[in-house]
Symmetry: C2
Subunit: 412 residues, 2 copies
Amino acid sequence: MKITPVKGTNDYLPAQAELRDYLQKTICETYENCGFQRIFTPILEDIENLDKSEGGENLNLIFKVMKRGEKLNKAIATGQPDQIADMGLRYDLTLPLSRYYANNKASLPNPFKVIQIDKVYRAERPQKGRLREFMQCDIDILGSKSSVCEIELIFTTAKALLNIGIDNFKIKINDKRVLKDILLTTGFKEEELDSVCISFDKLNKIQAEGVARELTEKGFDAKVIADFMELVGNAPFSLDYVKTISNNKEYIESLENIIDVSNRLAGGKYSVEYDMTLVRGQGYYTGTVFEIESLDFNSSIAGGGRYDNLIGKFGKEQVPAVGFSIGFERIFSILMERQSGLMEKPKKVVVLYDENQVEEAIMRAEELRGEYSTALYVKPKKLGKFLNKLEEQGYDGFQILGRDEDVRFFEG
Amino acid sequence: MKITPVKGTNDYLPAQAELRDYLQKTICETYENCGFQRIFTPILEDIENLDKSEGGENLNLIFKVMKRGEKLNKAIATGQPDQIADMGLRYDLTLPLSRYYANNKASLPNPFKVIQIDKVYRAERPQKGRLREFMQCDIDILGSKSSVCEIELIFTTAKALLNIGIDNFKIKINDKRVLKDILLTTGFKEEELDSVCISFDKLNKIQAEGVARELTEKGFDAKVIADFMELVGNAPFSLDYVKTISNNKEYIESLENIIDVSNRLAGGKYSVEYDMTLVRGQGYYTGTVFEIESLDFNSSIAGGGRYDNLIGKFGKEQVPAVGFSIGFERIFSILMERQSGLMEKPKKVVVLYDENQVEEAIMRAEELRGEYSTALYVKPKKLGKFLNKLEEQGYDGFQILGRDEDVRFFEG
């Protein structure tokens, strides 16, 4: 029997599990306090729903679940791999949310403010060190086009981060409609925009020269590429400057408003800034996109955007939607490294010398449990060594029921 | 695209999700307060670990995950179904716990008191109305043979049930070693005992006549069967009576002690009773077995027992273990039916007439959030209808930011 967990998955030790629980609980309570409602969907989804979804690269990373019984035998007889599975493990929480909304719309408030904190699965190549089972942590607002949603999502997500002890971050925001308008005025054609965005999204990875090279390889006009790269070279720049090169007043003003209100609500705890280079990979974003960057860790810790054309795929009508997702696993590993002592609640132990004292020991533990977590242990052979080990685990008070009914209590 | 969840799984609406969250949280907090520690294991396990495990009937219910890429093509080419999967979804939490303990023993306390609250998967036939994805909720103590463990597990599990509002239950307990000793004195042979236990476990389903018939079909001695069934007919009987027909003083006295101490600790809130007819299906139980029966719902709501030979399968040495599992899904459906009003925390809403009021609206909501969950909504066309719907959802206070900056507040 193999004793290690399967590749790309983790066993979590008690201290790790406690931190994961604490993070989930604090984030979820923050969201609920702000009027969002949690739902649960299955990790198993119909294989056709997954295969037909807008997952981009993720469609190649689906864990597929085999049919069973006679259906399996028939499928194998066809020799076609795509006949063998009837279900798969979800690769994100957005596809299940779209299906859920179509299935349950009549029972849900409109707009629907929803929390999803749950596991997703991707068959990443293990050598890249990526997890194959990981937690996603999303809030979404379905059914409203108002930019009030963006303001609320930014405020609420930042609040959740602050509540779990993450600060020193900035929030970058862009609007793909504004970006596309800039691309148009630079000289790209309407039908080229999506392809340009895909290359431009790699700016941080391959730098400006890399993007220019990729756009050239794609065969775009050299003059247009040069003009665009000059513009990019001047970034960061303000929305006031964008107004001078773009005519798309409506979305620029909306972005300005989101940024101004969000910064005032931030009260100096973080800043919200326009970033014309922000694209976000997912093809389904249709408007605003945003990302939170930790300045301590120089890394993205949350991201999201508006996707007005996705939810409708399951139903008869389009449903505008916007969401923000916290990078749970990134934050978990940051906080594990930081060893912030967040978890150090006082814990006590009652040790009994004699198994016949169990009743008295439980009664004494129950008294302590009004105030502390309190564990019960039968005295092992080496008491001193045992108590030392408990102290390492964070226990700071020991009550010993002695052989002769004496009770000793000492703080560690 | 299919909008319903896959067969045997559920979409949980916000009110259902809130109850599930509350149950998990309350049970977990009770366990942690009593010194148990939560862990997490992956839902994916190596297919060989699953196939070789002691899952009995559950081995036929494993969801298998297909290999990927070139390995999949090679597997399909063999035409052998058992080559196609390399992983599977866990069917319980005991197998992952055994693997986890072998993998992490050096980092864990001894004895290890562990909490597992997590999802498991079984390919049950959907027409039976059984869930294919469901929650299990276990505490286990690994590394101790002491009956202090049984007393603690019974006390702690009962406390968790009381804390979530379940009362009026009784706890039945037996010891398979005592039961087997009774079977021996009745005339069955050592090598027949497991087979007799399997039939006897069906007593509640097929009654005494059914058990007798099955034992007869299995070819056991008619006189022995008749003697045994006469004994069963006289149940319930006391451990004092068992002493007159069995020589196994050690385990009988241990059972007596567990029952006496547990009843005194129960303080009249529930009773713990010897039940010679209790077997529990799982073949891996080696000693005590116990079950909690709801007297309100005439149904088993928790079960467990001692399994001293299972954990060791992954390691070099045997590790004694005992566990107790709450029937989470049974309790969830009981409480959903009862509509106990457990969840009715006061919730408020701030409604804004004009999107430009978003900043003021969020500030006002934040004031309320010190005390209440508070949602924010932009006024829809029909305000009265909208407020009625919110009231149905449990909101009991509304703050309306009016068109002319007036603020109205009223309780629903």
